[in-house]
């Protein structure tokens, strides 16, 4: 069976992470969110996967390549241009992306699945397909009930008793919403839908295709069923998703590495004296990382590979990208260190260069000397604030 993963978004709400990584490649603990999706599709016998790419396309394409390593077949539909040696994304919308593939080869010649590359889901596709076929639906949406406060982030739908969708609303205000049932961006489609998507223009599934189907008298359905859905559409969502995974709140997720202490998982080649550090799980420590004596690490925390946690450093509920150095005077609480930014769960961030805090945190491979004033401050803080 065939599927399409939507991976051409710019990830505006996950900036600054998405300056470096496209959203589908953002790691949940260690694995890009899209890799979970590919594995999940494969487990359901869905093994021919098209991916539309745009923003930072090579990061996705070079990781998954032809899918062989993941036991599936994968290919890409790039939306953009190469200008002066630089990739410039020019995304054409979720439906536009599907149409481009269909115009190219007629790839979607049977019932197919579409899902967004930026949410971890474990939806039971067998059940969704059964529902879809029973109703002879042309388009079936996987729905989910969310707290009323959250409806304004999503496309809201209203269904009748048979599951037929009678109304759509794109990101309504809480008091305007007709329900708290939302479209998760997981779809099952029949190839007939392509009649309703114009070629060569930007076209969206939720905002344009679905209303167009309804306008043309097509019955489309929504199915609500329980499944894990970790959206990483924004920095707070990403924070929450990582925390849930580390705290073991997501069924089917297994922590990578070896559990070396209760709640503490480690990669290989880690340098640490367990009796001279204070570590409270859930914590993951990546391979080839060193943790100095007297360091404190409180979970939920993920430390990437090749990191250097200097003696006495304090980390509470942090996510550190690979090759992060945390100095002995730093005290980080609820910080995500990524791409030379120090990011709060809210998405607000400090630029490490601009704030001149390389003496607190840096790329572990950066051997550039600190300025005299930075060194001076480091020494002063060490004397004053580190007991």
């Amino acid at each position: 069976m065939k599927a399409m993963i939507l991976a051409a978004g710019k990830g505006t709400r996950v900036r600054p992470i998405t300056h470096v990584l496209p959203k589908p490649m953002i790691p949940l603990v260690r694995k890009p969110v899209m890799e979970f999706l590919v594995e999940h599709l494969k487990a359901h016998g869905i093994n021919k996967i098209m991916v539309n790419t745009s923003h930072l396309a090579p990061v996705i394409e070079e990781y998954f390549r032809d899918g062989d390593r993941f036991g599936v077949q994968m290919a890409y539909s790039f939306e953009g241009d190469l200008i002066g040696g630089q990739i410039e994304g020019k995304a054409i919308g979720s439906a536009g992306g599907m149409k481009k593939i269909q115009d190219f080869s007629g790839f979607f010649d049977e019932t197919f699945v579409v899902l967004c590359g930026d949410a971890l889901v474990d939806v039971d596709f067998a059940e969704v397909l059964r529902f879809h076929r029973e109703r002879k639906s042309i388009a079936t949406l996987v729905l989910r009930d969310v707290p009323p406060d959250d409806v304004s982030k999503y496309g809201v739908v209203q269904t009748d008793a048979s599951g037929r969708i009678v109304r759509f609303q794109e990101k309504p205000a809480r008091d305007q919403a007709v329900s708290s049932t939302i479209n998760t961006g997981i779809y099952v489609f029949e190839p007939e839908i392509f009649q309703y998507i114009p070629s060569g223009v930007e076209f969206d599934i939720g905002g344009q295709l679905l209303p167009e189907l309804v306008r043309n008298g097509q019955s489309i359905y929504g199915v609500t069923l329980p499944f894990a859905w970790l959206d990483i559409g924004s920095v707070p969502d990403y924070w929450e998703a990582t925390s849930l995974l580390l705290r073991g709140k997501v069924a089917g997720f297994t922590m990578p590495g070896n559990e070396v202490r209760p709640g503490v998982h480690c990669g290989i080649n880690v340098q640490i004296a367990w009796d001279r550090t204070h570590i409270e799980g859930p914590v993951y420590i990546g391979s080839s990382t060193s943790v100095g004596d007297g360091a404190t690490i409180i979970g939920p925390t993920v430390i990437g590979s090749g990191c250097v946690i200097q003696p006495g450093a304090e980390l509470r509920e942090c996510i550190l990208a690979d090759y992060t150095r945390i100095s002995s005077v730093a005290a980080l609480e609820q910080k995500l260190i990524f791409g030379s930014k120090c990011i709060d769960p809210s998405g607000r961030y400090l630029d490490i260069e601009e704030s001149q805090i390389r003496w607190l945190m840096d790329d572990a491979r950066n051997k550039e000397n600190l300025s005299e004033s930075e060194l001076l401050l480091f020494e002063e803080v060490k004397n004053l604030a580190v007991s």
């Binding site: 120090c342 805090i357 002063e380 803080v381 604030a385 580190v386």
Partner: protein, 112 residues
Amino acid sequence: MKLAQRKVGSNIVLEVLEARLGADKVEAFKDAVARHLAAGPVSIVLDLSKVEFIDSSGLGAILSILKRMPKGCELVLCATTDPVASMFKLTRLDRVFTMKKTVDEAVSALSL
């Protein structure tokens, strides 16, 4: 370097009227505060409510003021915005300084 000052009892409240306290401002900032201290021993409340960005040199400047405080006088920081408070926490300087949420709280901390 814009600083607003007002006297509260025998102490002074200095409000930093700059949005950015970085390398280009720190010398003028230190000089301005030093002038207040030169007039005689006085405790200072430093109101940082207008400062949205501080870098290492800004932190260093505030630290140097702390070290210059005359015996028996205090320096209390207050009303830090989130990005500034974050810098103090990251560097553990929040454990070195007395930091209060509001100017009023800072002033009462002095008079206690």
